[in-house]
């Protein structure tokens, strides 16, 4: 039995005290422990940002890549070795600014992995600039007069992109978050969770209290909500202005990327080898 604590390594996170990201890390540990994922089968891939530092805090194969490009890297890993449990962690800037193109296409491609976005509605690591998720009017170093733009409606976008699992959670709602991550990891295909998480240093608007007051659980908004209906999901998001937590949309029909490919007996990693002489001969014969 691996305990949830064992999924943490010995490195002291350099997050600010009180940062919401601690909560997400704990939830991931909890879910991994529930699933008893062997350390070596877990690959935690992140981009760049405070949030993305998590790639260095969990005890597993952790890769901290470049800003906005965790998803393509992770998809390469998954193709190479389908046996791995791949979790991608990213911030709202990493995901929705520089990385949005990759996110759209990862969702469309539907590989079997889990994408967790740590949405603090600001750029943390670079010390407080506006992010694509910053609220209108939000004052930052780069919007001293208040943000003039409307934050991206990321969940409807994801649904439009064909994402087959779309959920939202709150980093400090430990139980809710763990259960959503569990469902995300159980999903066959690409699962995406936008996780609100307070940045105690640079976001003094969307604080712990603010989220507590403004976020509603889908069960309380629509008891017995069925995430299987796309139109309903869109409606829910419009009605709640996106301030809802829970699994919003899930599509069990669309086959995952892996399902559309010929089955693999083994990982590609295990087959770095010459093709058989026959196969090579066949290939060459086309040119002879």
């Amino acid at each position: 039995m691996i305990s949830s604590r064992e999924y943490k390594n010995k490195i002291m996170p350099n997050w600010c005290p009180g940062c919401g990201d601690f909560g997400i890390q704990m939830a991931i540990q909890t879910v991994c422990a529930e699933k008893q994922i062997p350390f070596e089968k877990l690959a935690l891939i992140s981009g760049i940002g405070c949030s993305s530092r998590i790639g260095g805090y969990l005890y597993c194969y952790g890769a901290h890549t470049t800003h906005g490009r965790a998803l393509p890297f992770a998809q390469g890993i998954k193709c190479a070795n389908r046996d791995l449990q791949v979790i991608v962690c990213s911030g709202d800037g990493d995901s929705y600014a520089i990385g949005i193109g990759h996110a759209v296409h990862a969702m469309k491609r539907n590989m079997n992995m889990t994408y967790l976005v740590f949405d603090n509605q600001v750029y943390g690591l670079t010390k407080g600039q506006t992010s694509p998720r910053s609220s209108k009017g939000f004052v930052t170093k780069t919007t001293p007069q208040g943000n003039a733009e409307t934050p991206l409606a990321v969940l409807p976008m994801a649904i439009a992109c064909g994402c087959t699992f779309v959920a939202q959670a709150f980093s400090l709602d430990r139980r809710g978050l763990s259960s959503i991550i569990t469902r995300a990891m159980d999903h066959k295909g690409f699962s995406y969770v936008n996780i609100f998480t307070p940045c105690v240093t640079f976001n003094h608007v969307n604080t712990f209290e603010w989220y507590r007051e403004n976020l509603q659980d889908v069960e309380s908004v629509k008891p017995g909500y069925d995430p299987g209906n796309m139109a309903e999901a869109m409606k829910l998001l419009v009605e709640t202005k996106g301030l809802v937590t829970g699994v919003i949309y899930e599509d069990h029909e669309t086959p995952s990327f892996e399902d559309t490919m010929p089955p693999q007996e083994d990982t590609l990693t295990a087959h770095v080898e010459k093709p058989s002489a026959e196969v090579f001969h066949t290939l060459c014969s086309e040119f002879q």
Binding site: E40, H102, C284
Partner: protein, 582 residues
């Protein structure tokens, strides 16, 4: 009748008129017959319509260029006559479709035969048959027997039914007969002797590179279409199922490179292929691969730059960009194939180098390799064994709780042991940040220096693992040493045949390893040569600049530069070499 060693055939017309397919069939049939071939298409930037040509050189000796004067030109339109008849040699023959009423100023030394290409094609049902008629005429002109063509046609159209086969054969035959008839009135063309039957293949450099990747055990490619590299991905997609691999057409090159890197990090031999614009987009990722020691292979099939430049024209102008792109100090390997055949072998070596040295390897091919077809000796899958370097995949000593594998530990050769996700007790952290030996981010100056030195030191032995250049003779003291990289090899080699007859001591060195620069092994050649002529297709003498930064004998270096989008000709090399020799 006179016999030749070498015959150059060219055909031109509007895109869509069957020019390409005629050249394709001619090439395939003659390749099977054992001739040495080189074929080159001229692309216009239009998709359909627009002038296009295909040229084929048919020889008894291996050939690596299209040569310089055309023996037989087949013209489907007046543009072809106007543009290309000057390329026809003295006593060469132009076959022109009588249907467009070719305008031609009779000259004493070239003959134009206006033959009923369209008319015959129409007779057999469709204008599309023009290629068959022209093929028959060409075969007659060069004195090839009809049987192999018949066999090929029958096979190719088999699926379309006996009727189609029959019509094509008849069109071919009537073309042949019509040309044979016309030739009676003109002085005879030479014809080629029979080649010694050889076990050979006829393929594009891009296809050779893709086959190389497969032979190297690569089972993952991520790529984004771009001229002139797309064929690599397209071929991989077409055949990857045979080896149970995966190819992903990504949303862009940033993704392609990172996905290939992810696969490489995870232990598959991930690679990507692109050309200049896409390569530029990969710079940031390459820099990460250097820092995180990820063995990714990137093929850059160079085309004329800067920017979108001339996408269908050749150039070798990504040399310095390949070496230096990506911010920070460079820690990568850059190699260049020296022939279409070498596209196959060097690609395999690139995968080995990537895993042995745990760094990105950039393969600089070029449009002339990528999109020209050549006959090459049958490719030997086993010549380059797979070497995975210090990769560990099993039986690692157990780790203490929460302890990491010492992935980046300092070693004498600078190469650390490597594991991949999935390997028990092999967990480590991977990051583009500077890090300690476990991969934990670290800014301590001592750790920084240790890791930088380690990464730089490991590259010192690259030169021992790969043949850093090809050299025509082992002679080190030369009056002139000609140096090139990538597809200039053919023109230089042909020039050498001429130059060697000249008495001067001349040698030719084609560089295969550009970075880390093989200074030490090059030194004797440079040092002992009176003059060094560096031949390259770019405007800023990129290759020469590297030599000048490594060798102080700046006076010795001369440049032959060409950057008009056309490949350098052997005659240009000869002329320049003579000029340099004085």
């Amino acid at each position: 009748m006179e016999t030749n060693h070498d015959f150059i055939w060219k055909m031109g017309g509007q895109q869509g008129q069957g020019v390409e397919s005629c050249g394709e069939i001619l090439g395939h049939v003659l390749a099977q017959e054992g001739y040495s071939l080189f074929s080159q298409r001229l692309f216009s930037s239009r998709i359909k319509g627009g002038h296009t040509t295909i040229a084929l050189r048919i020889s008894l000796h291996p050939v690596q260029t299209i040569g310089e004067r055309v023996d037989n030109l087949v013209a489907l339109d007046q543009e072809t006559v106007d543009f290309h008849s000057p390329e026809v040699r003295d006593h060469g023959i132009i076959i022109a479709d009588s249907a467009f009423r070719p305008k031609w100023k009779r000259t004493s030394d070239k003959t134009l035969l206006a033959l009923p290409i369209t008319d015959i094609a129409k007779k057999y049902g469709s204008l599309q048959m023009k290629n068959m008629v022209a093929l028959g005429m060409s075969a007659a002109l060069m004195g090839f027997p009809k049987e192999p063509f018949h066999r090929f046609i029958a096979q190719r159209f088999e699926k379309k039914g006996a009727d189609i086969v029959e019509k094509n054969l008849m069109a071919f035959d009537e073309g042949m007969a019509s040309a044979a008839e016309a030739m009676k009135e003109i002085p005879p063309m030479g014809h080629l002797e029979n080649p010694e039957g050889r076990n050979q293949m006829y393929l594009l450099g891009n296809e050779a590179a893709a086959l190389g990747a497969i032979a190297a055990g690569s089972r993952f490619m991520a790529s984004y279409p771009i001229t002139p590299a797309s064929e690599i991905m397209e071929y991989m997609i077409r055949v990857m199922h045979e080896v149970h691999g995966t190819v992903v057409q990504t949303e862009d090159e940033l993704s392609a490179c990172m996905m290939a890197m992810g696969a490489a990090y995870a232990g598959a031999r991930g690679f990507t292929a692109t050309s200049g614009p896409g390569f530029s987009l990969m710079s940031e990722s390459v820099s990460m691969a250097e820092m995180a020691e990820i063995p990714v292979v990137i093929i850059d099939v160079m085309r004329a730059g800067p920017s979108t430049g001339m996408p269908t024209k050749v150039e070798q102008s990504d040399i310095l960009p390949a070496i230096y792109s990506g911010h920070g100090d460079k820690m990568k390997i850059v190699v260049a194939p020296s022939s279409i055949e070498d596209c196959f072998y060097l690609t395999q070596e690139a995968f080995n180098l990537a895993e042995e040295f745990q760094c990105p390897v950039i393969v600089l091919s070029d449009l002339q390799f990528g999109l020209c077809k050549q006959s090459v000796p049958a490719l030997d899958m086993n010549r380059i064994p797979i070497s995975r370097g210090k990769l560990l995949t099993k039986d690692l000593p157990a780790l203490d709780p929460a302890a990491y594998f010492d992935r980046f530990c300092d070693t004498e050769d600078g190469i650390s042991p490597r594991t991949v996700p999935g390997v028990k007790d092999g967990m480590f952290l991977s990051t583009g940040l500077e890090h300690n030996s476990y991969g934990k981010p670290a800014e301590d100056p001592k750790i920084r220096v240790t890791q930088m030195k380690k990464r730089l030191r490991k590259l010192q032995s690259v030169c021992e693992k790969i043949q850093p250049f090809t050299i025509r003779t082992q002679e080190k003291s030369n009056d002139l040493l000609i140096i090139g990289m990538a597809s200039t090899n053919g023109a230089i080699e042909e020039a050498m045949e001429v130059l060697e007859k000249n008495g001067a001591r001349i040698n030719h060195l084609q560089l295969r390893l550009l970075e880390p620069f093989p200074e030490e092994v090059l030194f004797p050649y440079i040092h002992q040569s009176a003059k060094v002529l560096i031949v390259e297709e770019n405007a800023t003498a990129q290759l020469k600049q590297i030599f000048k930064s490594h060798f102080s004998c700046h006076d010795k270096f001369r440049s032959l530069l060409q950057y008009d989008g056309t490949p350098i000709l052997a005659s240009t090399v000869v002329k320049k070499a003579k000029e340099v020799l004085g």
